[in-house]
Structures are given as structure tokens and as C-alpha cells.
Symmetry: C2
DNA sequence: CCCTTTTTCTGAACGAGTCAAGAAAACAGT
DNA sequence: ACTGTTTTCTTGACTCGTTCAGAAAAAGGG
């Protein structure tokens, strides 16, 4: 388990000012992987009832830029955040309920990074999203349309 | 070049009613790959000045569900549409200007489809987005921040 | 402890996309 | 062709995630 002091440490390590909203946001992202901004606002307010939504948006942006959290946004979804950073991992997204799970890089050494033809682009990241149905949704046929 | 009659054919083939907005939208998507909805509305109105934005939104949804066009939406971007469907191809997105290019599937037989651990999900598609800088943006250092 | 800079708060604003109800158009059957 | 039914289009309002702006508060170096 990660403590508040650890989060302060992480902020300082990234040369960021340590503020209560930031610590709370960092804690919320660690506690609720793949949570959307609204859930994070809720989690932050459990601890800091008067935190503004703007502070949460600002903190998330700062933390994302600093590399302390990662922002993901599958098509058709709102922004979601996770604390697992630095490892090149991907996600499975349920088409039916939107549930997200982590997936380690399919092939050992990030082969997806090699596009067959990069059109002259200089590529620095390959993002993979697997689409399907989560166990719950593939069991019940509801929503399969 | 694809003609209006071809588009009507495609609509009938998909068991969809042939309407002028739909034909125009299909034409616009074919003419402007990776265009966003607003650009498509503009292109449609060049031919059908009184088309409503709602008709375009509706048509795009119908065409997407029918598999006649494909909707893509890289994180942080609005929805974009393309007419290249059925082949499992991917995209390179410029972090700086948002330009998008097509990329054929990196490895011959869609290996990315095999997640290392699917968490019990039944996966039906693997979407790959390559992030980087387009030739123009990697040349000029502007925007690299 | 003070000062400057950065961050947060309040509240308004924005924009892509959706919802709803009535009018118009498509197409199957006669 | 004409009619009737169903689908689609138009108009206009509206939602919701996110951002903008200015004033107030807090962080951290000297």
C-alpha cells in the first residue's frame, strides 16, 4: 500500500509542488485504476470535501505531463487515468459495458512499434487497444444486439 | 473514381434506404479520408446546401454500423471517418498537428490480436495507434515544446 | 516571516454530440 | 402511378466533459 508520504515523495521527485489536491488525486488514481475524472473527483472529495473540479482537472494534467499518471481514452469514452506508468502495457475494453483491463505487451519486445510503413513519421509509441466483451457481458447475451 | 451510382449501389447492398444525404456523406468520406464530422458536413453541403448537421450525424452512424465507413477516434481528437474498411489497417497520428496516415498491419497475420492474457475477455479486434510526428512537424522544431 | 510564483476556487463558457417532435421522403403493395 | 406505412430529415433545444478567466489562497526560497 502506498501512503500519503510516498505520494508527496513522488511529487517532489518530479519537481512539482506538493499540494493537498495533488496528493489526493495521486492517491485516487492509485486506488482506482482506470477511473474517469468524475470518479476521481468523488474520491478526492472523500478526503478533501472542498476540492474543486478544476483543481482535479489541473492536477491530472500536471501529473500526466510529469509522467506520474497515464491518461487513456478509448474511442467513445471519457478520459480515464491509471498509475501504472513506464511499462509498455495495453488495454482490453468491453464493447458492452466499457470495462477496462490491463494487458501486458502481446509480444515480448514491443514489436508493434515497427510500423510496416511509417509514411515518414517518427514514431515514439504504439498504443494497442483490444476490443471485445468482458466475462460478465459475454455471459449474458444482453446488449449483444 | 467512385460515382454517385456506386454509392447508391453500396447503400442498397447494405439494405439501407438510398437518400441524398447518405449518398453525399458516403461520397464525402470517400473523397476526404480521416475527415472529422465538421469537414464532412462542409463537403456534404457543397452538394446539398440545406443538409442538416443531424442528417450527417445520423448517416455517419448508419454507415458505420453497416460497415460502409469506419469511425476512428484517437485520444484527444474528435471522431474521424474513412472509407477503407474490411482490411485490418492501423494509423499513425502526429502528436503535434494531428495528421493521420494509414499503416498496414505491422505483422502479416494480425499477431497483435493475441493478447498475452485476455483477462477472460473475448476479443474481436485489436486496434493499433502509432504516435509520433509527421514529416512536416519533425522538421520544424516548433511545437515540440 | 515575507515575497514571488504557482496553484486553487468560483463561475462562466465552449463544442462535439445527442434528444425530441413534427415534416418530408423512400419504397412495397396495389 | 397512387397510397399507406415506415424510415429519415429538419429544426432547435439541450447535455456533458472539459476548458477559460480572474481573483484569492497556498507553496517554498531567501
Amino acid at each position: 500500500m502506498t501512503t500519503s508520504a510516498d505520494f508527496q515523495q513522488m511529487l517532489r521527485g518530479a519537481a512539482l509542488r506538493v499540494t493537498r489536491p495533488r496528493v489526493a488525486v495521486l492517491g485516487a488514481v492509485h486506488a482506482h485504476p482506470h477511473a474517469d475524472t468524475d470518479s476521481i473527483i468523488g474520491a478526492v472529495r472523500a478526503e478533501l470535501p472542498d476540492a474543486s473540479h478544476q483543481a482535479v482537472y489541473d492536477s491530472l494534467r500536471v501529473l500526466t505531463n510529469a509522467g506520474l499518471v497515464r491518461r487513456i481514452q478509448p474511442a467513445g469514452s471519457v478520459a480515464r487515468y491509471e498509475s501504472r506508468v513506464g511499462d509498455n502495457h495495453h488495454h482490453v475494453v468491453c464493447r458492452s459495458c466499457g470495462a477496462i483491463s490491463d494487458v501486458d505487451c502481446a509480444v515480448g519486445e514491443a514489436p508493434c512499434l515497427t510500423a510496416s510503413d511509417d509514411n515518414g513519421f517518427s514514431i515514439d509509441e504504439a498504443e494497442v487497444v483490444y476490443w471485445g466483451r468482458c466475462p460478465a457481458c459475454s455471459g449474458s447475451e444482453a446488449g449483444s444486439f
